[in-house]
Symmetry: C2
Subunit: 205 residues, 2 copies
Amino acid sequence: MTEDAAGSPAGRTRRRGAALEEAILSAAADELAEAGYAGLTMDRVAARAGTNKNAIYRRWPNRLALGVAAYRRLTTTISPDDTGDLRGDVLALLRQANRYWSSPQGAILRELFAAAGGASELLEQLQDRSGDDAAAPWLTVLERALARGEVAPEALTPRVATVAMVLLRNEFVVRGVPTAPDDVLVEIVDEVYLPLVRRRAPARN
Amino acid sequence: MTEDAAGSPAGRTRRRGAALEEAILSAAADELAEAGYAGLTMDRVAARAGTNKNAIYRRWPNRLALGVAAYRRLTTTISPDDTGDLRGDVLALLRQANRYWSSPQGAILRELFAAAGGASELLEQLQDRSGDDAAAPWLTVLERALARGEVAPEALTPRVATVAMVLLRNEFVVRGVPTAPDDVLVEIVDEVYLPLVRRRAPARN
DNA sequence: AGTTTTAAGGTACTCCAAGTACCCTATTTG
DNA sequence: CAAATAGGGTACTTGGAGTACCTTAAAACT
């Protein structure tokens, strides 16, 4: 939470450019955090930033674009634990993902995904958290496991590496659960992910 | 497309109950098909059904609920081909799914999913097409393959059976593509699905 | 048949928020 | 110091969801 209206508009020099943009984004992020995307209104963002809607619309074409931009500053990075074995690492990562999507921030992310509904330019900006970039920790975990001989080398592709995460996201999208029960995570890991990535008999065909 | 306003309101006996409900749903489905969920307005549905908003709100609590109800009558069922081998069956099924999600109906489904955004009661009603019911054709295909000795028996669970479909849906949700390129489907099948379901070395742990 | 109850029809309204228009003024640029 | 740029203030339009309320047709009841 930053300061509310940044003091009385009288006693402050008029902000421009980057400074104002900062203030708007910051206000929008605060509003997002408090009320979610559904509760993000342009009037309130303007008021909170101590400016008006014009200044916002000069920078972002619409509410959604502002929402996406503001979301990016709520974001934290995740790093994979090292539990010493593949199953432990994978479960840990999946639990992190589950916690994130269950968190208020995760709820906002889901709202934005829903609102973007296929607008790829905007979805791209959200991908840091769930798209290709999110493959990195999974690949890290698999690399460690590969060194220990636990996985097949073919598993080291983004498509394969992120399967567990994708399946988990599916729970949220399709079932609308607020949080996925832990046994679902375990099931995903044991029934799908481990059998998939572990060293396996050479494919016929 | 059914008739537009069902004749002049004067020359018709006043409809009630089921008959009216039918007319509303039918009008809503037509509107959905023409304008998508985004373009579905209560006023227009009412006008098209030759009634008024009250009659609608007496039956559905809000626009989304009406949209979901109307969607269900746009829906067609899919049946798995039998190409004779597992890879062919799976690819065929996945291509069907891709075509569906790329179709206008698929676009509507995606809009509704987005608008429902976690309202489980409504999501449930959409699951016929993408949730557990959709597992049935995959299980059928796997059963056939099991009989031929192509897959491991552990693969016959909904979670495992639907992995390919879930991965494909993910492409739509995360990337916002209007349609998934065929090589993505092939990749999903060859890199993930087949290695997963095929008879495999017993898991160590 | 007449009476009561139920639900449809008609219409007008409130409410809310997005996006726009305009004009005035402070700041920067040159 | 002038011109150009961009912020501030404010009021407005638009559009659609949801509501209120009254009138009237059709059922249900007796």
